[in-house]
């Protein structure tokens, strides 16, 4: 048996070629986040900023939600690049938790403020399929960009990588949409990204080649 290991070591050494070292995860996360912000701003400018943006910037609930959503996307983005490289603890996956807690707290605060201001009618749920198309339009380039950057790493924790990647994308899409879309889109956004994550996980578990993460 040890002969086999010796032979393997010799074969691997013979097969060795120089490799380009992977850029450190923090730097890759920074590149991706800058790209994501640039795409968000570009789409917002193409669409046109929401007409009441100047007023909304003075609205505490709106500002809190936008900042905490962006913070969640930022922290999840850093976490996904860290956990996709061996040697970084899986506990880094908890990095976006403070952002998520603040985000839910802000959303709850927004709901409470609307309830105080407008009574029970302030909490009525509505649907907007127009916002769905903008979510998809903004999400696709972000998701694809993230995928192409992550595939250079190692899929040592495929499930966590997928969940954090989707969390980061959906949070950044939500904060971007809030700049130009007048209707609250969080619920549609969560349903879309949550659904996409579940579908991707099912496809990868079923072993569909295109969606099967590259195993190490």
């Amino acid at each position: 048996m040890t002969d086999q290991t010796d032979k393997l070591i010799a074969d691997l050494a013979a097969d060795l070629t120089p490799v380009q070292r992977l850029t450190p995860p923090f730097r890759r996360a920074a590149i991706w986040l800058v790209t994501a912000v640039a795409i968000n701003v570009a789409v917002a400018l193409i669409h046109g900023l929401r007409p009441d943006l100047a007023d909304m910037l003075h609205h505490t609930g709106y500002m809190l939600l936008m900042i905490t959503t962006f913070l969640t996307g930022l922290l999840a983005g850093i976490a996904v690049f860290l956990i996709s490289v061996p040697g970084w603890s899986a506990r880094w996956a908890l990095l976006p938790v403070p952002g998520l807690v603040l985000c839910f707290a802000s959303a709850s605060y927004g709901c409470y403020a609307d309830w105080v201001r407008m009574g029970p009618h302030g909490l009525t749920l509505g649907t907007s399929f127009d916002c769905f198309s903008w979510i998809v339009g903004l999400s696709l380039p972000l998701s694809l960009g993230l995928y192409f950057m992550l595939r250079h790493g190692a899929w040592i924790r495929p499930g966590l990588t997928l969940i954090l990647g989707m969390l980061s994308t959906s949070a950044l899409v939500a904060s971007g949409l809030s700049l130009f879309h007048p209707v609250e889109t969080s619920l549609v956004n969560v349903v879309y990204h949550g659904g996409a994550t579940v579908i991707l996980i099912v496809l990868s578990v079923l072993g569909v080649p295109l969606f099967k993460p590259k195993q190490i």
């Binding site: 060795l16 061996p86 040697g87």
Partner: protein, 216 residues
């Protein structure tokens, strides 16, 4: 210059080998230095690194696996994984956690495979060696059973090995074509075929040493 470097590598390898048995922190520093040389394509440093790592990864495998065959196979799988993602090692980070994550993945994979195999195994009652009284009928039935055993053994292989043996040995592709199709080097495909044949022989109860396992 190159002679000096080679001597330096041998010296480092010697130090790393001596120290790794005792788990000395300096041994990890030496091995990290060898890793950097290996990332730059230094075959001698790479071989020295893998030999220095061998007792450590073997120790990790031995803690969770009992059969020597499983331990050896897992050590070899760990080395194949290290080889595949060697670009992700960052010399500014410690080497040991990087190795630990990869080793843990491979050991868990092996344990899962063993549990699956054990779950499928059933005790055959005595006197059920033959299913039919006539010799010819037995031969046909046994051939069919053999084929099923081969298919089952193929299904047990890791995806990379199954793909390699399917392309090279079943579809008859050349190593070069299989390498082009899978995006791997010819050496990596050759190794996968070699490992697959070895695993199939073991699964089918044959002698692994017959024929040497080369794939030409």
């Amino acid at each position: 210059m190159s002679i000096t470097l080679a001597q330096d590598n041998r010296q480092r390898a010697g130090h790393a080998n001596t120290r790794s048995a005792t788990g000395n922190a300096d041994a990890w520093t030496d091995m990290a230095a060898l890793f950097v040389l290996a990332q730059n394509g230094d075959k001698m440093a790479y071989e020295a690194l893998l030999q220095a790592l061998r007792p450590y990864v073997r120790g990790l495998a031995k803690r969770r696996l009992s059969r020597p065959q499983d331990i050896d196979d897992t050590v070899q799988e760990i080395f194949l994984s290290i080889h595949a993602i060697r670009h992700t090692f960052d010399p500014d980070r410690p080497l040991q956690p990087w190795i630990n994550v990869i080793a843990e993945r491979r050991i868990v994979d092996r344990l899962r495979r063993l549990y699956r195999e054990r779950a499928r195994e059933t005790e055959l009652p005595e006197h059920e060696d033959e299913t039919f009284a006539a010799d010819d009928a037995n031969r046909i039935a046994e051939a069919s059973l053999d084929m099923r055993a081969v298919y089952r053994a193929l299904e047990q292989l890791p995806p990379g090995q199954r793909q390699a043996i399917s392309l090279v040995k079943i579809k008859g592709m050349s190593l070069r074509d299989a390498a082009a199709l899978t995006g791997q080097s010819e050496g990596a495909v050759k190794l996968s075929v070699h490992r697959a044949i070895k695993a199939l022989r073991r699964a089918l109860g044959g002698d692994e040493n017959i024929g040497g396992g080369g794939n030409g």
